[in-house]
């Protein structure tokens, strides 16, 4: 069969690949709030006066930044499953199987949190202390200082770094295909095994990834221009 009909014909694999692309984008998007949010929490704890808390957070970051992302995913994925099995066993509950997509998001978020916490910490350092001191002396509550004064400035400084991590995250979703999530790369593998045309389908998958990353690059530069409106 021709490449065209394999992709776009009535029994073509095109729709399945697109479905996979949606799952890939969904995985990455679903990870962002948890990954970046947890990273921010980690950063706040890294800047806390408690030495123990700082050491624990630094250890977390060092661990996940120092081992392959594939290994992190395996550890979180299988570790979670074992943890759930042990807990249900302890309380005599029936066996629960994790949803692969949810487990994938948790695993990706664990890695993303470690990467992004470093970006958050360095952008905390970039916001002058005088800002929060001034806000405090104006009588703002500590939480207000953070939300109204520090965070908006933080976001501006952090955006390029977070953008890099988003790019890494987008590509890391492909590792989830080795577990059980039907993302773009897994769909391409299925298609190439069924048709014995790996060049065509992996080529198509690569092209789709390229389009996704080009679009996200455009989105990033739009966002960066937007948060830098008042500066230039």
């Amino acid at each position: 069969m021709s490449a065209f009909s394999l992709l776009f014909g009535p029994d073509g694999w095109g729709p399945l690949l697109l479905q996979g692309a949606l799952v890939t984008a969904g995985l990455a998007l679903a990870t962002v709030p948890f990954g970046f949010g947890a990273g921010l929490l980690l950063a706040i704890m890294k800047l806390s006066p408690s030495r123990l808390l700082r050491a624990a957070c630094d250890a977390y970051t060092t661990f996940f930044r120092g081992i392959p992302d594939l290994l992190s995913l395996f550890i979180v994925y299988f570790g979670l499953q074992i943890l759930i099995d042990r807990t249900t066993h302890l309380f005599g509950l029936p066996k629960v199987d994790m949803d692969a997509f949810v487990a994938g998001v948790i695993a990706l978020a664990a890695v993303t949190a470690a990467y992004s916490s470093e970006v958050w910490v360095s952008s905390f350092n970039a916001v002058p202390r005088g800002q929060s001191e001034a806000a405090l002396s104006l009588g703002l509550h500590r939480r207000q200082v953070f939300r109204l004064v520090v965070l908006p400035q933080l976001a501006r400084v952090a955006l390029p770094g977070l953008g890099n991590i988003w790019t890494i995250l987008l590509k890391d979703t492909s590792l989830i295909s080795t577990l059980a999530v039907a993302d773009l790369l897994r769909r391409a593998s299925e298609a190439s095994r069924a048709t014995t045309r790996p060049l065509l389908f992996y080529g198509a998958a690569t092209a789709i990834y390229l389009v996704i990353s080009l679009i996200s690059g455009l989105g990033q530069s739009y966002l960066e221009r937007r948060v830098n409106r008042g500066y230039a």
Binding site: T62, F63, R65, G66, I67, P68, D69, L70, L71, F74, I75, F78, G79, I82, L90, N125, R129, K171, D172, T173, S174, L175, S177, T178, L185, A188, S189, S192, T196, R197, P198, L199, Y202, G203, A205, T206, Y209, L210, S213, L214, G217
Partner: protein, 269 residues
């Protein structure tokens, strides 16, 4: 409760596991180091011409380099690896007649090819950034003094560019070490591959933790070493910054400054 604690401790520190399977981990580690050493150095050699092409005024050259970089940085490495490894299988007849099948038949060589081309794209961008960081005036001044192009490169451009590129290059080396775990997915028995093999035999989760410790040891060593080297090479710049920091620190900031001198330098550059 106590038995639960014991079982947790037994899971975390299963030394019998290491006794039985440790040798396989070491073998895997050697393969990982081979993959990283070969693809990293080949990638370095390949990256320089790419970065020069990227900076070239010739539109065809710079366009080609730009697309090469965009392709390899914009798509997942795993996807590139599949494309080469499984794609070569489809082209078997052609590759055999071209006398290249012996190369593409081995997953190990396919990994090296994929990692080399991938890291070349990243290293080319690092070199481009480092070359761009050198003030034009220095090169103009050297030219005005009548230095040859080779001497300008050797004595003016490279020493400064290397200093800028050192940290990102170290990060890239760590990146390749981490990425090399993908080789396990295409049947190479590197550290990750051996770990998966052992897990399939024993169903003992601890082996993943031992594997993680081994990776951590390597990547942390490299990170610390590259920090050291950077600090040593940049000591002429650091002296001024440390003095300035101390002067500023005496005047203001009752809180201790958590950023190291090296971090300050990075902030400047």
């Amino acid at each position: 409760m106590l038995s639960a604690l014991q079982s947790v401790a037994g899971t975390v520190l299963n030394l019998g596991l290491l006794q039985e399977w440790g040798w396989r981990l070491v073998q895997g580690l050697i393969v990982t180091i081979q993959i990283v050493a070969i693809s990293c150095s080949l990638g370095f050699v390949l990256a320089y011409p790419i970065s020069l092409a990227r900076r070239s005024r010739n539109l065809v050259l710079s366009g080609a380099a730009r697309s090469y970089i965009a392709f390899f940085r914009g798509t997942p490495l795993l996807c590139q690896l599949y494309l080469i490894y499984y794609g070569a299988g489809e082209l078997r007849l052609f590759l055999t007649s071209a006398g290249l099948w012996w190369f593409f038949r081995e997953a190990f060589y396919c990994c090296i090819l994929a990692f080399t081309m991938n890291t070349a794209a990243y290293q080319a961008e690092i070199m481009r950034g480092a070359l761009n960081a050198i003030p034009k005036g220095e090169i103009e001044a050297a030219t005005a003094l009548g230095l040859s192009r080779y001497r300008i490169a050797r004595h003016i451009i490279w020493p400064q560019a290397l200093l800028v590129a050192l940290r990102p290059l170290g990060n890239e080396l760590i990146g390749i070490i981490k990425a090399s775990a993908l080789a396990a997915i295409v049947t190479v028995f590197d550290l990750m591959g051996q770990t998966r093999f052992i897990f399939a035999r024993t169903f003992d989760f601890t082996i993943y933790l031992y594997c993680a410790i081994l990776y951590l040891l390597i990547t942390e060593t490299i990170r610390r070493a590259s920090n050291r080297i950077e600090r040593r090479l940049a000591r002429h710049k650091l002296a001024g910054i440390i003095a300035a920091t101390e002067a500023a620190g005496a005047a203001a900031a009752p809180v201790p400054i958590r950023r190291s001198p090296a971090a300050l330098l990075r902030g400047r550059a």
